[in-house]
Symmetry: C2
Subunit: 260 residues, 2 copies
Amino acid sequence: MDSIKNVEILRIKGDNFNVEEDIVVKEYPFTIFINDVELITLLCSPTSLEYLALGFIYSEGLIDSLSNVKKITIDEDKGIGYMYLDKLNEFSNKFMGKRTITSGCGKGTIFYNVIDSFRSKKIEKPITVDIGSIKNLVKGFNKKSQLFIDTGGVHSCALCSTDGIIIFEEDIGRHNALDKIFGRALIENIDTRDKIILTSGRISSEILIKAAKRQVPVIVSRSAPTSLSVEMAEELGITLIGFARGEKMNIYTNFPNLNI
Amino acid sequence: MDSIKNVEILRIKGDNFNVEEDIVVKEYPFTIFINDVELITLLCSPTSLEYLALGFIYSEGLIDSLSNVKKITIDEDKGIGYMYLDKLNEFSNKFMGKRTITSGCGKGTIFYNVIDSFRSKKIEKPITVDIGSIKNLVKGFNKKSQLFIDTGGVHSCALCSTDGIIIFEEDIGRHNALDKIFGRALIENIDTRDKIILTSGRISSEILIKAAKRQVPVIVSRSAPTSLSVEMAEELGITLIGFARGEKMNIYTNFPNLNI
């Protein structure tokens, strides 16, 4: 499904005005069912829906690995993802039974608590970060973000090795873009524990927690981090980089051995 | 409480690197209790917490007016807002009993459905929009957004008449900033039905729905709207303006009588 929609706008420039064709980014309600029980409606971009559904329930702790998933069916027209799990783990049982959450928060995560961060484990495999590599990754990342350039309305996210971008996803929600990345990494059996996450969006505690759960040792953003994400990254041994633009970046935590 | 926190960063500029003091925007977990039952934890900026708590439950439909609220106590150190309501309305009873939602989505709204939009009433009092006034409001709005300029991490939101800004609030979450506006308007008994909302953030369906519930006839953003917000604004008789910057803006719906 297209990620954009044509609309007719009245464009004002100084004293001039014209009715013109323009595009806006599509916002698509996508409802996830687990074993025929409605779980949540995410407001997202209508792409990579299988990755999103899978990444979302993985981030939320409903599955521990791909082997828990028997079947995924996406009905794109109706905006529904049906997921069948072999058995619900303790965590999923806990809220599948008690809660029927029929609406989403648009950006993704609802279920986990800030306290989740303390359940996240410290990074087990720190990697060596080469600043030159980060700069190159950021350059490649910016080039790929065409939908943002067209509409100004989406966030990009990428999973990278130090050599280049491995997975790239976009979504109107920062959280969804990251869940798409992790869903796809799960399906393609890509180890996230020695990789780098690049994102166009701000790094809030929720983004940090999602990445920490996948043991990603380095997170790089074009935008700002929040105080809570800095504190968590410090604690968890994650190297957190913000305002990565061109030749500049700010490293907030776990300063790497510099190789400039 | 301060909205920013000092941190030590490693700043990279080309081949130079320095350890420097910098600031990041504070991300503050704020838990709302209704009649001693935990409702939600919002991740927000630690300012105007009374407005936020009030605006949030007003947006979610838990109260119909200020007269429903007996008492609000904010414990800033613990990050808790205790709200006592005289009686729970039908809507609040529905989820206060059945759900214990212990975590937030950071950007605000969890409870309402996209279908909510269809419950929103069409704007009853359309106002005449003067493009020159909008340009002036946007200029004043940009000048006020100092926290963003300092940290790159917050969204600004304002309630305006055609003459100027009446209420201005900031938050790390677009949704929270808007809830702060509506909470304060409720306390100060400001009618929102003939006003204009200005926001620095994108206009998604959730932002549109919050404004529609307060019968705001005009919404202006520095950023992009989504397809769903354009469709809803069209349907509800709201004038939706995006990319309002300097002398430029795009009008997406309910084109006003131009007075340029």
